[in-house]
Amino acid sequence: MAHRVGMEVSIAVSHAVQMARAEAIAAYPITPQTHIVEHLSSMVANGELEAEFLNVESEHSAMSACIGMSASGARTYTATSSQGLALMYEILFIASAMRFPIVMTVANRALSGPLNIWNDHGDIMAARDIGWIQIFVENGQESYDHTIMAFKIAENHKVLLPTIINMDGFILTHVVEAQEFLEQKQVDKFLPPYHPRFTMDPKRPMTMGAFAMPEMYTEVKYAHQVALTNSYEHILKVWKEYGDLSGRYYHPVERYKTEGAKVLLLIMGSLGEVAEVAVDELREAGEPVGLLKPRLWRPFPFEDLRAAVNGAELVIVCDRALSLGGAAGPVLAEMRSALYPLAEKPAVLGYTVGLGGRDIQPSTFKDIIRLAREELAQGPSQEFHIFGVRG
């Protein structure tokens, strides 16, 4: 029987990694990921997780060591945030191009400068193009569930792509929530041992990481694009199987009270729960407002989003990151681009919120809806707005 626990979400994630029987972990501590790797380290030290935990000397080496570990044939995991993700940046592209099924938790945190250890999505939005599967979670239960599922998705021979689970730093990592854990034997049945496709094996020597001349680079990258796009169906299969097992079903875009909604809020990550409170209050007052919470970020769920906005007049994208000097916040830009081919589409406006961990209340969303309606009435601008700037 699955059992319910109340624990800090970071600890729950490390239990998920333990139950997934990760074998090799290379990590470097950075706030707010620290509790995850500390607890994993402790589990290894106590023999509760049969794995090797490597204390590397930087995040760049963490991802490099993860590549080595995955190449040896071990089930590999790491976690980082913000500056750590930025430091491993060049290696992230290589890990996915070389098709190593590494699973990584990113405890989303703002990027410097200035230095800021609190939650926003700046770190992962700067890493959209790395070629990994990227999934957002909203609460402790999802953090646990999706960490286990990530290994199954990544290691599928039809996928073989490293996978990031994005969880909001501090808001999730350092908060105690109730979570339902599966039993170990359920996880073992769901997630069999890792069978790599290629390893560094003297009995079967291969050359990995050869360089590609202009004549071949395009074809290799095309294959990567196809793999990432096609992973969509395999991700959904895994989510369905896990749903049958746990009773919790997940979708590329989660919808909340969207029936008959004319105005849709769109936000990713844990602030979705705050937005739900706003939507509840507005619905109570008779307003046709709904909420979209994209969960699958890469591969981008084009069809799910186009279907989800059908019937709405206005979509308000609440970004948690900036794309300085660009046309819009990252999620806003990708949403507009996704809807562009539709003959009939809602207006899409953007309000960036919660940068650097600034607190967001349900009233924030109500204010944003009001501002968006005013903007729409005047004729929408192409700009995006950072909400709540003083001055």
């Binding site: 191009a97 990995m208 050869a210 071949m216 074809e219």
Partner: protein, 96 residues
Amino acid sequence: MSKPMDQYTWQEIEIGGVLTEPGNAREYNTGDWRSQHPVWTKSRCIKCGVCWTVCPEAGISEEPGGYFDMNMYCKGCGICAKECVTGCIAMVPEEE
């Protein structure tokens, strides 16, 4: 066997760009590079094998009988001639 680079379709390339034929660089004839090649005077060769050890290309092979001779990969660098213990190797220009 590898093909010329611009003939590979994306489907033909292994996942992750992994190369599965160790040592297939041997398909590439580096001998095209040389403008001179070594010639052994067998009467002064003592079959010691030093020339074979100092060739960066593994471009020297042992023949039956124990003498050594260049193979197709020789790039004509001249190290073998310089290091030969008895001085029995001479570098001779490639004939066109």
